[in-house]
């Protein structure tokens, strides 16, 4: 009987091992084609382009662990960015613009959380609707306008390199990662999130207010979208309605690639972190090789479906072997 636990531990390990191997294969492949890829500088460049995706993916891991999803994080980022642009254009006050962007993102997440926690409408449908709602809001505010001319300080927020090489985005990502990973693995919250993913009723019947938790994690994800918007604007210094277009998919891919199950209950922040890095490497590699965005999307889709297939086969294998013993 004791072997069951060992088995599940082993497959948990092998799962992350597979991810790391995949990462190494991708890096080596790129390196062979373009030796520049082996330079440490390029390695750090990867972190300089995954800041926004990373922040949102770490937050989304909480949501997916409960068995939920947020399809529209990219459009929440877009809405927050446009609000930032509008505020800056009207007031020229950076602090106010940042505050408004954060509030907008948070409200976007809060609204999702409100619907998901208070009604029986599935998060999939809820966020499908609100993602177009938020996109619509950006379109109405901005139309074909670009907001630009932000102060240099903003750029420093996301493109500074500490000691000349370490991207400040790496720091943001790692700080958030360590906090969330600790909460996820050792905290009451992490435990309840996993419990809710498996059997929400049992968690409710232990006296936990799961509605509050759901509202909280969607709202927190919204706040991260707002922060991601600021990081994004620091990098691109213009807010327009095409920002964040591809991110819904990239963020969800990072989380699922990391092994968090859409069925809920199973997941890890570490997996998500590796997923983020894999996406960053692909992005960097494809841009170094001058591949088009279409090929990048194609590859991402392919990798996602392959990894989901792999996990489902592993899961099935685990179930069969535990049934036998």
């Amino acid at each position: 009987m004791g072997t069951v636990k060992k088995k599940s531990f082993a497959s948990y390990l092998s799962h992350q091992v597979i991810l790391v191997i995949a990462l190494i294969v991708v890096v080596v492949t790129f390196g062979i084609i373009e030796p520049v890829f082996f330079k440490p500088r390029v390695f750090f460049d990867v972190f300089a382009i995954v800041g926004e995706i990373g922040l949102m993916a770490l937050g989304l891991t909480f949501v997916i662990t409960t068995g939920g999803i947020d399809l529209g994080v990219g459009y929440n980022l877009q809405m927050s960015g446009i609000v930032f642009g509008l505020t800056w254009a009207t007031t020229q006050n950076l602090a106010l613009a940042i505050a408004f962007a954060l509030v907008t993102g948070t409200l976007g997440g809060f609204f999702n959380g409100l619907i998901v926690s208070r009604t029986r409408i599935p998060s999939l449908v809820t966020t499908l609707a609100t993602m177009y709602l938020y996109r619509g809001i950006s379109m109405i505010i901005a139309g074909s306008n670009n907001y630009a001319g932000f102060p240099d300080v903003l750029q420093k927020i996301s493109t500074t390199r500490l000691f000349g090489f370490l991207p400040v985005q790496f720091i943001y990502l790692m700080v958030l990662f360590f906090i969330l990973d600790f909460i996820y693995e050792r905290g009451v919250l992490g435990r309840n999130l996993k419990g809710m993913g498996f059997n929400e009723n049992a968690v409710i019947y232990s006296g936990v207010n799961t509605k509050k938790i759901l509202l909280g994690i969607y709202t927190f994800l919204g706040l991260l979208c707002g922060m991601a918007a600021i990081v994004y604007l620091g990098r691109f210094s213009a807010a327009k309605t095409s920002m964040g277009d591809n991110m819904n998919f990239e963020v969800i891919t990072a989380v699922l690639l990391g092994g968090t199950s859409t069925m809920g209950g199973i997941g890890s922040m570490r997996g998500t972190l590796i997923g983020i890095i894999i996406i960053g490497v692909l992005k960097k590699g494809f841009s170094l090789l001058n591949f088009s965005g279409n090929i990048y999307n194609f590859t991402l889709g392919l990798i996602l479906i392959l990894s989901l297939l792999l996990f489902s086969v592993m899961e099935e294998h685990k179930r069969v072997s535990s049934r036998k013993s």
């Binding site: 009987m1 909460i183 009451v188 919250l189 498996f198 019947y205 936990v208 036998k324």
Partner: protein
């Protein structure tokens, strides 16, 4: 009854990797008899039934049906050979009608037009006639066009039986058919069983409830740990003997009640109302008392428990704890005041089966064993976990073991222990022994008795009347959301309680 066996199971062997599930098990089923198969959980009853209907293949031994050797590939094959199994969990399609369910997979068909023989459509009028005739035979009046999900558990069971009868199966296997039925529904089921028996059907009847075996069965076969123990005429044995064969030792008693000096009223409910569910309920509970709540399924017993401990909202009513008025806006506030509830359905509400024993045991303790930012203090958690495992004697390899892989009785103990870690003074147990075997049942009763003797007050909701009689100091009977009556221990009888409940 005819002495000639219709189905003979001879020296069946079956192993799974690492486990010998059945060794040398033999049963002979005679024509027109109801043959009980009993044993504790894990005794091999289900495995045996699955072999008979072709879900598993035996490793050794043989089966003889109507005097000829018989081997079988799958349950459809079994149906075709006249063996129908009615599973414990309904295999009906909830969104289809009664009629569609009964003929699922073997619809009566007719050509679409008299000259187009190859294109066939379902012949609903014929199916309707056939099904009506079967229900008439069973003495049941069921709307064949009703959607199954709108029907009660008892009716579903009847539909399963009717489905089996459309195959004209001479042999029926009933796996725990009464597990979810109220006593009135059980009576109806027994009438049906007797009727089928008189028509010459043979039945294998699997049940945990020993009383039922004496009520409706002719012979009984006892299995223990995959071994054949004995086959005996029901008339020649008794309940205690049966229990001894099943557990292989003398159970000192199934209801080890400890006499406790019952103290003052510590909890009182006045005028509890919940629209359409609870109707003006008053009751009180004394220190050290085990208060039973009896009644039929749907009488509002579980709903009362949920409302008392803040899991659902009351429309009106007052609660008093130690003569002080209290209100529980949510479940955790009730837990903080020492009132806790253990759900009747551990799979759906009681436990997160996919997580570890430790996580489940300490789920209600989270506020206590975590620091201000919600990080769990692991050494404290381990302490509580080890303590619980030891105290309730939960049989688990270690505290990180996944609950799903424990036996039913041990899962139930985890469910109870999960409430005990917060040290409740008032504990509401909802059907704590449903679906657990005799050994675990006796153990759970001992735990309940001990809790009362420690001065805790227990509310025991149960559909198992012998359990109420054996364990409770006082019993409240509920009926249609109201309190229908109160009986003290020295006046209790099954008839009296049932009379109030009906």
């Amino acid at each position: 009854m005819n002495e000639k066996p219709i189905l003979v199971i001879d020296s069946i062997e079956k192993s799974f990797p690492g486990v010998k599930a059945l060794s040398d098990v033999s049963i002979d089923l005679r024509q027109g008899e109801v043959h009980a198969v009993c044993g504790e959980n894990g005794a091999g009853k289900s495995t045996l039934m699955k072999i008979i209907c072709g879900v598993y293949q035996p490793d050794g031994g043989k089966m003889i049906l109507n005097g000829a050797d018989y081997s079988i590939q799958d349950p459809n094959d079994a149906y075709a050979r006249g063996i129908a199994i009615i599973f414990q969990e309904s295999s009906l399609f909830p969104d289809l009608t009664v009629l569609e369910n009964i003929f699922m997979g073997h619809e009566i068909q007719k050509p679409i037009l008299s000259f187009l023989k190859s294109i066939k459509i379902n012949d609903y009028p014929s199916m309707h006639r056939r099904a009506s005739a079967i229900f008439e035979r069973l003495g049941m009046d069921i709307d064949l066009d009703a959607i199954v999900s709108d029907l009660g558990v008892a009716t579903k069971q009847m539909i399963e039986i009717a489905k089996a009868l459309t195959f004209d199966s001479p042999i029926l296997i009933l796996d725990e058919p009464t597990a979810a039925l109220t006593s009135k529904e059980v009576d109806t089921l027994f009438d049906t069983i007797r009727k089928l028996k008189s028509e010459g059907h043979s039945m294998l009847y699997i049940s945990h409830r020993l009383d039922e075996i004496f009520e409706v069965c002719d012979r009984v076969t006892v299995l223990r740990d995959g071994q054949f123990i004995k086959t005996e005429d029901v008339a020649k044995t008794n309940r205690d003997e049966l229990v001894t064969w099943m557990v292989g030792r003398n159970l000192d008693t199934l209801y080890p009640k400890i006499e406790v000096d019952i103290g003052d009223v510590i909890f009182e409910a006045k005028g509890l109302n919940q629209k359409g569910i609870l109707n003006n309920i008053d009751f009180n509970l004394r220190k050290g008392e085990i208060l039973g709540i009896a009644g039929l399924a749907g009488a509002g017993r579980t709903e009362l428990a949920l409302a008392v401990c803040g899991l659902t909202k009351l429309d009106s009513g007052e609660l008093y704890l130690n003569n002080k008025k209290v209100s529980f806006p949510n479940y955790r506030s009730a837990q903080k005041r020492g009132v806790d509830y253990i759900s009747e359905d551990r799979k759906a509400f009681g436990l997160v089966l996919e997580m570890s024993v430790k996580v489940n045991l300490t789920q209600k303790l989270q506020p206590k064993i975590s620091n201000f930012i919600g990080i769990i203090r692991r050494n404290e958690e381990d302490l509580y976990t080890e303590d619980s495992i030891k105290k309730l004697d939960i049989k688990t390899p270690d505290s990180d073991f996944i609950v799903e892989n424990l036996s039913g009785g041990n899962q139930q103990k985890v469910s109870v222990a999960k409430a005990l870690v917060i040290d409740p003074q008032i504990l509401i147990l909802d059907e704590p022994t449903r679906g657990v075997d005799v050994g675990a049942k006796s153990e759970l009763h001992r735990i309940i008795s001990n809790l009362a003797s420690e001065g805790r007050s227990i509310i025991l909701i149960s559909s198992d009347l012998p359990e109420i009689l054996g364990m409770c100091d006082r019993v409240f009977v509920m009926k249609e959301g109201r309190m229908a009556g109160e009986v003290m221990r020295d006046e209790m009888s099954q008839e009296k309680i049932l009379g109030m409940a009906l």
